[in-house]
Point group: C2
Chain length 604, copies 2
């Protein structure tokens, strides 16, 4: 299917309106303030000299670029002079300091000048890609083309160095992003060379003599260099890099009708969702290399599950949707957005997690008072910025165009992929969805279209639903006759559902998670006391869905704990004490101060 | 109570006869061969020069010393010219190279000469202590006093430097051992100054201005320096160091009738067994500093639980027994010996574990093929030697005098603390125990004594027992009238017992362990396939005790696994498949090649 651009979707109410307002009113400004304070914007002026403080980091440009991209999405709906001035000033610096060849990187222009394109892991092409995405978005929102022109020049230079002359020290990006960005640049400019350059990188990846592992601690698997990408069977190495690369692959496969490349994407997708993805849609099991590990290795307490990795998974799913009208991609996307992306940002919109573990045990987070060494776990409260601060601006741009994830179409069908209280309008279709989703599963859809069908995704979590209209089911969608009527009432049954995982996931053995609709729930020690690990949940118990302070309902149920016993070891018994277990949406954890937190409970 | 010296106990049959024979016939020789190969014996000649390979390590003398101590215990029962020649040659080198003041350390005599007694963590006093223990044992077994004299001279020198002149860079040993060794030296020589010196170190520990944390990564807790030892409330820091220190404290407390010091030992003992000890009697939860961590922090897969730590716990329990005729110390000792010490040595007697984790998951032991970094877990097969090879010779000496753990006496009672098929003879008592323990719980005791009572420990694992004689129960012992009869038949019921742990032990939440008598059982993937973590055990199931190839019986039971489901996540159900679970004694794990292993099973 083709997707309805975010700019054609207006979110009116409900969950996503709240999140969109938060980003527009708070997050975009908070991230700017932190980036300004930390000299990320100053770096663009390229005045840093040896001996000065705050040397521009190789990846700072990507932080600014993602923020600009987010601003562009926001400006599309409503002009904002202040934001636009900031962007224009930043763009002016970039244009001014871009060298005669088109090269721009605020690190390599002021230091390490001899090392340009010499080290595959130094993020130049990654930054270039993000700047191109920003340039395209800003041009489309404002019509201002200064950055777009600058980035086209840069792309031309990259084409020359990497493809025509092949004179860089490496052949393909060490941190993918440029591949997908070139496809965007192509779409905005119509310049086919950019798509061809993207295809060149995809073709050469894992298929050239020059690329080496990106660091001495990395293997060829770390960058998915072990085979040509068309032969890839699973996502490997750095999770974000793998997913951005897969996005580029999917884009190229679609543009060139490259079935072999799509098949590789599909194999990776299936491997990912069936063997390497947390229930939250988080991916990347270890902090060592921020990487994938092995099939079914999904430890909860040490899960890395970077916010950007969930965002990039959603981006990949979106692209796979374009290839196949199968609801499975939208299902995975939904899982990742609600449970993998949103925990990365506080309810206030100002604080961020880079890592999103599925379990926090504050009692044993700092295990050795006798030594200065300690076990390493993710931080337990969201700071306002990180040294490596990719996630906050990624959230800004992601959440600013969330409406673009909702709708699609093909020749004869309009697709509702994600459920948001919103309307969209194209030349041949006017569609309004009224819903409190995911607070409940009721959808009222008004659809005026010249197309034959209205397709509404049946979420993978949904076992029963009712409609007021006849439908058929195809590839995970209910298909309605849009020529016969315009109003459709659908109710997706949204009971609490207790989930179990594959026995190969050793960390989840004997454990279950509580979900409702697309939302994964967790318990915090704030509400449930210590020793969350010892709490038993009965899949057959009654679960009460009620109010919460966290946008979506909370859940309470009667749960069980072993009868108290002060002994360290004692004869096993089956005595249990009941307790009221209070669950909140996982995305809302850590909004009330440091606490232990758990998703997977013992199964009674 | 007073303890019957190992030399007065002859082990005749059964489990411990097998182990004793193994040590005498195999282990003592195998450890010597490895130490000879690795130049630990050569080092005693002090001919190493800068530029030579194999620089003597600061702790090598302690390795040799523990081996000599073990040989001494073996020689007490049967002369062995070859072993005696090796010891005599080693002693001759020590005597020859000891300096004019009595100092001996094969590292500091050939290098770092200026650093003598300058660095609290460099093991000089630790090595000195082990050499004193060896000297005392060798003298008692052979009457040869060359090493004893040399070590008395060394002790005199230490007394001068540390106590009289206080001229060393530190006040108390960074790695305790000397404290208990000085008490041994005192007992063998009758020289009270050695006991006083031991008391001096105990008094000064955590109670002086000079001692600093032993390394920059360590805090004052690492060496239990945070308070004077009389105020200690729990064992902290390096597990072996803490236990050797507690041994010294207990020895001094007994010698000087120091109730305050004993109370500190008792507080540490209670803290240890109620909050910081694995079910195996293993102690030291983390490899970081080989240390204790926090109460109830007892992770299974990353458990460090050094073999030497279990040995030192047994040594501490033995000393606590001397203070109080309470069976609890012997209970803990038994747990530690069977399940904490014995896993450290292969059934062949030639291979050793330093670390003894309670769970091995070979499928996820090496988690990241994409990076050269990997999660760090204990090795899964026993090598013949380690770089830091304290455990193998510690096993030699420990197992060579195991009979010394069996019996005790006080004014009117003979105590049977540990059950071994053995006899012992003192001036007033001839006692024979016939038993297959711990294969079963039957004890036939023949006791001719002029003392009034025979006291037989009621193990903490034993809920029911029968006897053919009247008894009273006191402090965990059944007390028989030894003046009325000489033969006593006791049967300790030894059913399989399923054990649960305190809810504060997060790693064991929802899990149970299978035990029989003093033996903790485990499952290996050899017998039970992969995904041991997902196996449910029913405490109320039938457990069949049968043959095994590992000295003591194996156990089989019907266990349960979740019904197979290929999905990664799915609606929770209670469907189970049955399986036959085959359990072996934990001490016997890793004798059939690398495998996954588990002690704590899900509780059905």
């Amino acid at each position: 299917m083709k997707l309805i651009d975010y700019s054609k979707v207006t979110i009116n109410n409900g969950f996503w309106k709240t999140k969109q307002d938060m980003v527009r009113n708070t997050t975009v400004h908070a991230v700017y303030d932190r980036f300004k304070e930390t000299h990320r914007f100053d770096a663009l002026s390229c005045t840093w000299k040896e001996g000065d403080p705050n040397m521009p980091h190789v990846f700072w440009d990507s932080d600014v670029a993602k923020w600009i991209e987010g601003v562009a999405y926001i400006l599309r709906f409503e002009r904002n002079e202040k934001l636009e001035e900031i962007v224009d000033a930043a763009v002016a610096e970039i244009v001014k300091n871009q060298d005669e060849y088109g090269y721009f990187n605020s690190h390599f222009l002021v230091t390490d000048q001899d090392l340009r394109f010499q080290n595959r892991d130094r993020h130049e092409l990654y930054c270039a890609g993000h700047l191109m995405e920003a340039a395209a978005a800003y041009y489309e929102s404002t019509g201002k083309d200064a950055l777009l022109k600058a980035m086209c020049k840069y792309a031309d230079y990259i084409e020359r160095i990497f493809k025509i002359e092949d004179s860089a020290a490496f052949t393909t990006p060490g941190h993918p992003e440029l591949e997908l960005a070139l496809m965007t640049l192509y779409k905005v400019t119509g310049e086919k060379r950019y798509a061809d350059l993207s295809k060149y990188f995809i073709d050469k990846h894992g298929n050239n003599d020059k690329d080496q592992p990106i660091a001495d601690w990395a293997t060829i698997h770390y960058s998915m260099d072990e085979v040509p990408l068309r032969e890839a069977t699973e996502p490997r190495g750095h999770a974000v890099r793998a997913m951005y690369l897969l996005c580029g692959m999917a884009d190229v496969a679609l543009e060139y009708g490259d079935q072999e490349l799509f098949d590789a994407c599909e194999r990776c997708y299936e491997s990912l969702v069936n063997k390497r993805m947390y229930i939250t849609g988080g991916i990347g099991s270890t902090r060592h290399g921020e990487a994938f590990t092995l099939d079914y290795h999904l430890p909860n307490r040490t899960a890395y599950t970077e916010t950007c990795a969930a965002i990039s998974l959603a981006m990949f799913c979106l692209r796979m949707q374009k290839h196949q009208n199968n609801a499975k991609y939208a299902n995975t996307l939904e899982r990742a957005v609600f449970n993998g992306v949103l925990p990365g940002i506080s309810l206030s919109g100002k604080n961020f997690f880079y890592e999103n573990p599925l379990e926090i045990d504050v009692e044993f987070n700092h295990v050795n008072p006798a030594t200065n060494t300690k076990e390493r776990f993710a931080i337990t409260e969201r700071p306002e910025i990180f040294g490596c601060s990719c996630c906050p601006p990624n959230l800004v741009r992601f959440l600013s165009m969330i409406g673009g994830y909702a709708y699609g179409y093909d020749e004869d069908t309009v697709y509702v992929n994600q459920f948001m209280d919103s309307n969209m309008k194209t030349d041949d279709t006017t569609l309004t969805v009224s819903t409190a989703y995911p607070a409940d599963g009721k959808l009222s859809i008004h659809c005026e279209t010249t197309k034959k069908n209205l397709a509404v995704r049946i979420p993978d979590w949904c076992e029963n639903f009712t409609t007021d209209s006849a439908y058929t089911v195809k590839d995970g969608y209910m298909i309605f006759d849009a020529s016969a009527k315009t109003d459709f009432a659908i109710e997706l049954d949204m009971p609490v559902t207790v989930i179990q995982s594959n026995s190969n996931v050793h960390d989840n053995a004997g454990r279950v998670a509580v979900t409702r609709g697309p939302i994964v729930y967790c318990a915090e020690s704030h509400d449930n006391g210590r020793n969350l690990q010892a709490i038993y949940v009965d899949p057959d118990a009654e679960y009460v869905v009620g109010e919460s302070e966290f946008l979506l309902p909370g859940i309470t149920t009667t749960a069980y704990k072993p009868a108290e016993n002060n002994a360290l070891y004692f004869r096993a018994n089956k005595e249990m004490e009941t307790m009221t277990l209070k669950l909140i949406p996982y995305y809302a954890y850590a909004n009330r101060g440091e606490a232990s937190m758990q998703i997977w409970f013992l199964k009674k």
